[in-house]
Subunit: 620 residues, 2 copies
């Protein structure tokens, strides 16, 4: 898929693949800029930020610059970091953002970290790629000594307290009026949420997830430090964690991505470990052609950590061209590993025959240049989610961080009223996600809503919630849009999938657009979803939940029951179909002990389902 | 002394004494600027630097600004700190300096910290006062969580190793190739020197000092971390510290003062605890009228620390007007608590009839504007230290950090040759140091060399080296100049004084100008030193060492032998007199068991000493 866009380059040295843009380059044509020539020594603990800035300026003067880091540890501090205001999708707008390494208007640049450790301090954005083209970033490790998430080991629990062991060096804390506050290199923050990970399996403890590992009302604890250095949390917790397990304390805002890619094109990241960050892991927005090979967003096991990034892993908001995720791994994230979506905005009022005042509705996704001249947009009915029509943009004008004016080439259709959704159809990518591993993270595995081709292939899932969510809504998260060709094949969905409750996690694969008014005449929102040749290991009922799909194929899959967990899901149905058309279920290899052999339908007819699978049956 | 310069102001509120400059102001006339109105909340751990900068800008617009800090903790980080190149006296010129709080061109400003804790990070200059007038800074505590000096407790010692316990939270470290490196918030540095403090008494262990607490060759240790978290230093140490005692690891450059006062006038500091800093404690240079009341440069005992500042306590280099030190305390410093001196420079060559090329000779004291138009200078013979003549300056021109041109109003005298010393006679202060306590610090207590009046009164000394050193030299440290009226009265010199060897520490009071050529005809360098009404508690011989003094009175002192320590000093003489004139020793109350009842003379006659003290006798 990517081949047509990225020119494959001859690899003639250990530096491996360079990045060519319009022509092929050989390794020896690289202009190597060694960062150590610009005032930093690895392992010196000194702030590397100014030296990297100087080296990047030199790179701009070269034709095919290679910024090279001799192996070792580089520390990056907010001191001297370029601060810039960025409105980042699905991120708190604490601005300006502190940019550890800022590529701005760079082209044909390769950064080779040579397996160096980049250790960041305080709240920062490790790498920012803005208005840049043909960039390859490889062989890097990004981490924090004092991260923006904390963890502790459970020593014991009683009806009135939990004793925990907290590594004060990695997770310095204070107790203020009985409450735990974590303190870092320029911040202090209270605990917002507690997760529980099993010590041996590194899985989120089954049945916890977003259902409060410590039970409802856990916030009423009183913390006390004991003589021996352990900590006691006094409260009659409604749920007690298992002694030996690891509690993750979520705290602090998600206000900087790990790697932020904006308004850029042809960006490749290879062989990179992102062990931690202060928000979304790799956030790409309004960018085109993005490739990630052997990128791991995982805990740093050398530090004994069970958490990795602060929130989502890879987040693609309003991108276009091709997205390739290959041979990547996700573990210990505090939100979905992969999200691919656009942003619905709301019509506030008509300003003229061809002009609208619009508004960003999700408070963490505002302030962006939502459309550019020439972009195609769709008008989406906010009750049925039906696309009512399309138009082209001639101008975009920002009014405030939430509001903007948009001017169209044609007159505003008569049906466009206040409250209607707008979708940008130009900034929609195709996506290939393959050969990757989705270990236990808070929430789901992959969330994808894009009208272009999507291939999810040969991945392994141990996600705590649904493995795959195909969503879309114009009323709560405002994440667009409807899919039209999704192929899910050759994946393995292991037993830990869906062992906890999370929003929209209705089955291992959950196709769940939020359509306020659903009935038999509601037009289908999604189209053409094929689930083929996958292995499922469900221990519980829900396998597939699908709402509002036209053309849904579930074929040649192997479903083998697992007994690793006790069924818990409220949905005692294997296949839940709501308002779907042209559903085909056939030729699957089904374990006779499988729990979810039933099919429920709603807002549709049995005749909408072509069922060639004698083991399965319709409910009622 | 200070009264004539500082107008005493009516104190009508808890804010106490304000600062008036030319007229009296009442408290209610202050324009209060509350720092919390400019973007910082105490105890938030956020970087307070930008908020303080904004508040100081507002202060500049007010007539009698009071910058007020609500009580609490404020963190100051290098991020956003104004960076400026400063050539600081007796300090490493790692530039630019990072200024946490920079007063530049401020006047009539009071800063009231309201007992707040200012916690600094990395290497920084907590407070800088440049080209400012009538400044009062009060009620502050300055400290570091991770200081630029480390300490450890000795667990046990054997012939082949020492086991120590190091608090990794306060003193994070790494072991590289067997050597201990301390690592902080943007730095890493190896150990340069080890001091030993007694656990209970907080005194530097007798006989250690600059004689290597771990014996010569201690640098050949190999460090290893043990399972239980302790550290073992393997080496056949020539001296073994006492188990239970505290080792201080000196590391890192002295590159930022705690408070740096330059080119300023009428600066008062009151009720301030300076618990740590990255170089000299309070460095004043080319400033006039400086007052310090209840300023403590002491270890933060709440953190269990035995060290305070990284080097000297209060350092006055080339100041003028009045210096007042009253009710201050010094402990755990890694160099002298107080230094008052000027800077000798060397003549490199004559450039014209009235122009000289000169050079700063001490590598840590360079780059300063050594003289201004109208300054009086003296020509000092570098062999005899005799002042050969005087002149006035019309111009100063910097050539490099070490070299400058100086133009005089008159022709250069014929005797001025290459190698001659120049002293700036205008930038010489009078000094009153009273009611203060000098606990155990590395090196001496007070070092003072200024031709103006000096009063050292009612102080208590437990200094590890000499209590008072009156030096002066134009060949090694290049610290000017000769004293002409020093009164040392009412002080108590306790037994711990001079329990270790340090440079120039020849007696409890050591008057030791470095005069390369001494003989009977060498003119005296210092004049008029009175040592009266003091209490001495010597356990060893040396009481007074005096070289090249015209007019030395030792009268009405009480000398009581102490048995707290074993005599160790190589000098088995109570009163060593070298090349002195008009010495009077009389009416002292002398313990019959005193060791140092002998007087030695050299380069002088017995007739130069008026001795009305039957207990004392001349050697040989």
């Amino acid at each position: 898929m990517i081949k047509g866009i990225f020119l494959v380059i001859l690899c003639i040295s250990f530096h491996s693949v360079g990045f060519a843009g319009q022509h092929q380059v050989k390794q020896d044509l690289f202009d190597t800029v060694k960062v150590t020539a610009y005032g930093i020594t690895p392992n010196s603990r000194a702030n590397a930020v100014p030296a990297i800035q100087r080296a990047l300026k030199v790179c701009k003067l070269k034709k095919n610059p290679l910024l090279f880091f001799p192996k070792g540890r580089y520390d990056l501090w907010p001191q001297h970091a370029i601060e810039k205001v960025y409105y980042e999708s699905n991120t708190s707008d604490n601005n300006p953002k502190r940019n550890g390494i800022l590529l701005e208007g760079q082209s044909n640049l390769t950064i080779d970290g040579n397996d160096a450790a980049f250790i960041y301090h305080n709240r920062m954005q490790p790498i920012t790629v803005e208005k840049s083209t043909n960039i390859l970033i490889k062989n890097l490790n990004i981490d924090w000594d004092i991260p923006l998430t904390a963890q502790a080991r459970v020593i014991d629990t009683t009806a009135t307290y939990i004793t925990i062991m907290l590594d004060e060096k990695q997770y310095p804390y204070e107790i203020d009026a009985g409450k735990l506050s974590f303190i870092g290199e320029g911040w202090k923050s209270g605990v917002k949420m507690v997760m529980e990970y099993e010590y041996d399996s590194h899985l989120i403890a089954a049945g916890t997830g977003d259902d409060h590992a410590l039970g409802k009302g856990w916030q009423n604890y009183r913390a006390e430090k004991l003589q021996n250095g352990t900590l006691r949390l006094y409260h009659s917790f409604k749920r007690r964690p298992k002694p030996g397990n690891v509690l993750i304390f979520r705290h602090s805002d998600r206000d900087h991505a790990g790697i932020f890619i904006t308004e850029s094109k042809n960006i490749k990241i290879e062989h990179l470990n992102l062990y931690h960050c202060a928000g979304l892991g790799i956030l790409s927005q309004f960018s085109e052609n993005l490739s990630f090979m052997k990128v791991n967003i995982i805990p740093n096991s050398k530090k004994g950590r069970y958490f990795s990034g602060h929130d989502d892993g890879m987040h693609f908001s309003s991108c276009k061209g091709q997205i390739l995720v290959d041979n990547c791994k996700y573990e210990g994230l505090m939100d979905d590993p992969i999200n691919v979506h656009g942003i619905y905005v709301k019509v506030i009022k008509k300003l003229g025959t061809n002009q609208l005042l619009c508004r960003f509705m999700e408070r963490m996704s505002v302030g962006m240049v939502w459309a550019r001249k020439g972009d195609h947009i769709g008008f989406t009915d906010n009750a049925s989610l039906k696309t009512l029509g399309k138009a082209s943009v001639t101008a975009f004008k920002q009014i405030s961080t939430t509001d903007f004016e948009i001017t169209l080439t044609t007159a505003i259709p008569i049906y466009v009223k206040e409250g209607l959704g707008l979708e940008n159809l130009t900034w929609t990518p195709s996506a290939t996600i393959r050969n990757s591993t989705f270990e236990s993270c808070r929430a789901r595995g992959i969330l994808v809503t894009t009208p272009k081709d999507v291939l999810i292939e040969n991945n392994i899932f141990r996600s705590s919630g649904s493995a795959i969510l195909i969503a879309g809504d114009v009323n709560s998260w405002y994440e667009s849009g409807a899919v039209s060709n999704v192929v899910i094949k050759g994946n393995t969905f292991l037993a830990p999938v869906l062992t906890s409750n999370y929003q929209f996690s209705e089955a291992i694969i959950s196709i769940f657009p939020e359509i306020p008014i659903m009935n038999q005449s509601t037009p289908t929102y999604h189209r053409n979803i094929q689930i083929i040749n996958n292995n499922f290991n469900p221990y519980d009922y829900p396998i597939l939940f699908a709402q509002s799909v036209q053309g849904l194929i579930f074929e040649n899959n192997t479903l083998t029951r697992s007994y690793d967990f006790s069924p818990f899901h409220k949905r005692k149905v294997g296949f839940s179909l709501i308002g779907c058309k042209a559903v085909e279920i056939r030729n699957n290899k089904i374990d006779q002990n499988l729990l979810g052999k039933n099919i429920s339908i709603q807002h549709m007819q049995k005749s909408d389902v072509s069922l060639i699978q004698p083991e399965l049956y319709f409910d009622k």
